[in-house]
C-alpha cells in the first residue's frame, strides 16, 4: 500500500503550483510534506486524493495508476484542515458517512463506527452535533471518519493547525500512535517544520512547487541539500553569512574545518544556533538582544555588522551591550554556493 507520484505538474492559470514532483512513499510510513504557505504542499495532497486533477504526470496508489479515478474510487481517507465535519449530522452519522456511501449495511456500519469510536475515545459523544464538542474531539471525529473505511492511504492536511498549543502536543503524539497501530500509509501535510520533523518517518521539503529534498528528519535537518531547506528547518532559524575562504581559513568568521570544495569565494555559510558555543573561542561579538524561551535563551550577537542567533542555557551575567567570545562547533555548520544555494560542504 504505497503511494507513488511521478512527474506531476499542476498550474492554476499562469501560476505553477506543482512542477515535476516525484515521490515514492513506502508502505506503512508516515510521510510528511512540509513547506511554507503557497509552496504547493496542499495541492500535492489534493492531487493524491483526486480532488485536483494534475496537468501532467501520474499518481499510483498500491501500485495501481489512479489518474482517471474519482476521489470516491481511490479508497483514501482524508482529514481536512478545518475537519469539514458535516455540521447538520451527528458525530455518529459523520463517521458512518463513508460506510453508507459504500452501501455497508446499517447494523454492520453501527458495529464498525462503535469500534473505531471506542478506539479513538469518542464513544460517549456519538449522538452530539459537531458544534457541541471540543476542538480536540472534532479532530478525533475527523480521524475516525477517515479511518473507518480502512483506506489504502491516510491523508492529513494540517490536522493540528486548529488546535490550541497544549492540545496540539498530545494530538501529535496521538496521531503517531494511531498510525503505528493501524500501520497505514500516511501522508501528512504541514507548514510547521517542527511538527513534520517530530511526527514523520520521512520528510519531503517542498518549495515553489518543487520537491527540494526527501529524507529522514535527521537527514534533512543535518544535511540539507540547499540553503532553502537549511533555512526552513530549525527554530530559531539558522544563521547565514557571506564568507570567503583564503589560506585554509574562513573570513570573516573562522570555522573549525577546512574547505574541500573548489569554490573559494562567493560562499554562504550557515550555522545552527545550537552550534555556537558562548564563553570561549577566537571570535567575538556584542550582545544586541536576549529572548527568554523558558528552557533557554536566544542571544543575538552582532559580529562585524551581521547578526547571529545563539542558544544559551544560562545568561551568566550577559546583558545587552556585553562583549562575548564564542566558538563554532563543526556539527551544524554548512557551506553553500552563494549563487546556486546548493550545499558544497
Amino acid at each position: 500500500m504505497s503511494v507513488k507520484v511521478e512527474g506531476v505538474a499542476k498550474n492554476f492559470g499562469s501560476f505553477s503550483a506543482l512542477d515535476g514532483v516525484d515521490l515514492d512513499i513506502d508502505r506503512g510510513e508516515i510521510f510528511s510534506i512540509v513547506g511554507p504557505s503557497g509552496s504547493g504542499k496542499t495541492t500535492l495532497l489534493r492531487v493524491i486524493a483526486g480532488l485536483e486533477v494534475q496537468d501532467r504526470g501520474h499518481v499510483y496508489i498500491s501500485g495501481r495508476q489512479v489518474d482517471d479515478l474519482d476521489p470516491a474510487k481511490r479508497n483514501v481517507g482524508m482529514v481536512f484542515q478545518n475537519y469539514a465535519l458535516y455540521p447538520n449530522k451527528s458525530v455518529y452519522e459523520n463517521i458512518a458517512s463513508p460506510l453508507f456511501a459504500k452501501g455497508v449495511q446499517r447494523s454492520e456500519a453501527a458495529r464498525m463506527v462503535t469500534e473505531i469510536a471506542s478506539k479513538l475515545d469518542i464513544g460517549e459523544i456519538l449522538d452530539r452535533l459537531p458544534s457541541e464538542i471540543s476542538g480536540g474531539q472534532q479532530q478525533r471525529v475527523a480521524l475516525a471518519r477517515a479511518l473507518v473505511k480502512k483506506p489504502s492511504v491516510f491523508l492529513l492536511d494540517e490536522p493540528l493547525s486548529n488546535l490550541d498549543a497544549q492540545i496540539r502536543f498530545f494530538a501529535r503524539r496521538f496521531i503517531k500512535e494511531l498510525q503505528r497501530e493501524f500501520g497505514i500509509t500516511t501522508v501528512y501535510v504541514t507548514h510547521d517544520q517542527s511538527e513534520a520533523l517530530s511526527i514523520a518517518d520521512r520528510v519531503a521539503v517542498i518549495h515553489k512547487g518543487r520537491i527540494q529534498q526527501v529524507g529522514t528528519p535527521a537527514e534533512v535537518y543535518e544535511t540539507p541539500v540547499n540553503d532553502f531547506v537549511a533555512n526552513f528547518l530549525g527554530s530559531p532559524p539558522i544563521n547565514f553569512f557571506d564568507a570567503k575562504y583564503e589560506g585554509d581559513r574562513f573570513f570573516p568568521v573562522n570555522l573549525p574545518f577546512k574547505l574541500e570544495s573548489s569554490i573559494r569565494e562567493e560562499l554562504k555559510v550557515g550555522v545552527r544556533p545550537e552550534s555556537i558555543i558562548i564563553g570561549a573561542g577566537e571570535n567575538t561579538g556584542k550582545v544586541t538582544g536576549v529572548d527568554y524561551l523558558g528552557r533557554e535563551y536566544i542571544l543575538y550577537l552582532s559580529v562585524d555588522g551581521s547578526e547571529f542567533r545563539a542558544l544559551v542555557h544560562k545568561l551568566d551575567g550577559l546583558k545587552i551591550g556585553s562583549t562575548v567570545k564564542f566558538d563554532i562547533q563543526r556539527k551544524g555548520v554548512m557551506v553553500f554556493d552563494k549563487s546556486s544555494g546548493q550545499r558544497v560542504q
Binding site: 486524493a49 483514501v76 473505511k149
Partner: protein, 579 residues
Amino acid sequence: MTRAVGKEYSSRLFYIPAVVYLALFAFLPFVFSIFLSTPNADFSSYLLLFEFPELHTVLLNTLIFSLGTAGFSTLLGLALAIFADMISHGKRLVTLLAYLPYTIPFTAGALVWTLIYDPIFGPANFFLRTLHLPGVNWLGSPSVQVYSETIVSIWTGIPFAFLIILAGLNSIPKELKEAAKVDQLTKSEYYTSIALKLAKGAILVSFLMSLIISFGNFDLPYILNGGYSYSMATLPFLVWFQIFYQNQVSQGLAGGVILAAMVSVPAFLLIRVLSGGGSRKEGGARRRRAGTAIRIPDRMFMLLVGLVAAVVIFFLLFPIYWMFLVATRSQFMNFVYPPVLYPSSLTFTTFIQTFNQAKPYLVTTSVVSAVAMGITILISAPAAYFAARHRARWLVYLCVYLFSLPSTSFVFGVYFMIAKLGLLNTWLALILTYPVFTVPFAVWTLSNFYSQLPRQYEEAALIDGHSVFNAFFRIVMPIARPGLIATSLLSFVFSWHLLLFPLVLSQTPYQFNFPPTGSFAITNFATLFDPTSLGSSVSSNIWGQVGSAGLIAALPVMILAILAQNYLLKGIYTGGVKG
C-alpha cells in the same frame, strides 16, 4: 483525460435544466418578440412608434418614474438604514416594520393608494390641508399623475433599499466603528466619512436594482392608471396597451425592445458592480475625498436621523394601516371629512364577502406559486451550485440580466407560445411561465449561498465515497438548507405578486373542477377592484371592497413574511430582489 471529460459531463447536468428552461421561456420569447417587432423586415413599426404623439410623454414619464423611485427609495432607505444601524435596541422591530411593504404585491399596494389619493375624502389631501397646503387631484390631474405614481413606487421601493443598505452597513467590521469612537469621531463623521464609503457598493446596488425594477414595473402604473390615460403611462404599460388592447402588436413589441434596451444600461452597470469592476480604483479616491466628513454633534445628528426615520416609517406603515382600516370598518366611516383615522365601527362583513369571492383566485395562486416554487428550486439549486463551484460567473450574469429584463418585453412571445400549446387559461400555463421570474433570482441568490459554503464539505463527501450527485443532494443541499428555505419562500412570494402573466394568459377564475380550468390569480382579483372602474354605487361599500381585495392579496404573503422573517431577510441580504 477520460476522467476530466466525465467530470465535465456530470457538472453540465447541473446547469442544463435551468439554462434550457430559461432559453425556452425567456430567451426564445424575447427573440421572437424582437423578430415580430419588425414584421416587414424593416423598422417601420419603430418609425410608427416614434411618430406616435404620446411617445415622448410616456418616455418622460418612464424616466421620472424610474429615476424618482430609484433616487428617493435609496436616499430614504439610506436614512432609515443609518437610523437602524445607530440604535442599540429595537433594530429588529424597525427592520420588521420597514420591510412590510416589500411583502405586499404591487397590485394590493396600488389599490390602497387609490383610496389614500381620493381627492375629497382621502387622507393624503387631509394631511396636506393640515399643513396648510392646497389639496391635489393626485390621480386625476395630468400634471401631477406621474409624481403621484412615483410616490407609490417609492413607497414600494424603500424597504428593499433599506434592507440592502443596512446589510452593507452591518458588514462593516465592528472594529472600525470602535476605532472611530476611540478617535473621537462624531456619529455624523463616522457615517459620512467611513460607513457610506464602505457601503457604497450596497448603495449602488440598491439604486440600480430599484431603477431596473421601476423601468420594468407594469403592475403599479397599470392599477393606478384606471382610465388608461397616456398622461400617466410608463413604457411597460404602453407596450401592454398597444399589444393587448389596441392590437398594434408590432408597435407594442417595438416599444418592448426599446424598453429592454433602456433597462440594459442599469443591468450592465449592476453586473459590473457585482463583478467588483471599478472597485480597485476606490482606494485612491477614498483617500482623496477624506475631507467630506460632516461634523454635527451626536445629539443633533441622532435627532435629525431619528426625525427622518420616523417620517419614513410613518410613510411606509400608514397605507398598510389604512388598508386594514377601510377593509374592516363600516362604509359610513369612509365618505366623511375630515377622514376618520382611528378604528371605529369595525365590521368584517365586507371583508368576508370579498374573501368568499376571492376563493377561486386564492386557490389558483396558492397552487401555482407552490408548484412554481418547487420547479424553481429543483432546477435552480444545481445550477447555482455549478455557478458557485466552477466560478461560472457567466451563468450568474445571465440570470441577473434575465432578471432585469422587463416581462413586458417578452410577454407576447410567451403568450404566443402558450396559445400555440393550447394552454391559455390553465394552471399549467402559469406554472410553466412563473419560473421565468423566479429561476434567475434563485440561481443568483443560491449561488451566493453556495459560494459562502466551504468547499471542504463536498470534498469530504467525495473522499467518503459519494458520487458528485450524491455529494450535492445528500451533503451540500442539507447543509445549505437555510439558504434553500429563504430562496423558496422568496420565490413563493414573488410568484404570488405576479400580475402581467396571469393578466395575459388567463381569462376566467378557477371553476373548482378537474382538470382545473380558469386561472385568474389573486392579483387579477385585486384589479377587479380598481375604484375608478367600480364606479360609485352608493349602496355598496366600495372602499371596504377595495381595501379587502388589497388585504386578501397581501395578507397571506405578509403573514408568511413575518413568520419567516429571519429566513427571508437572510435571502434578501444575500442578493435577493423583488419580482
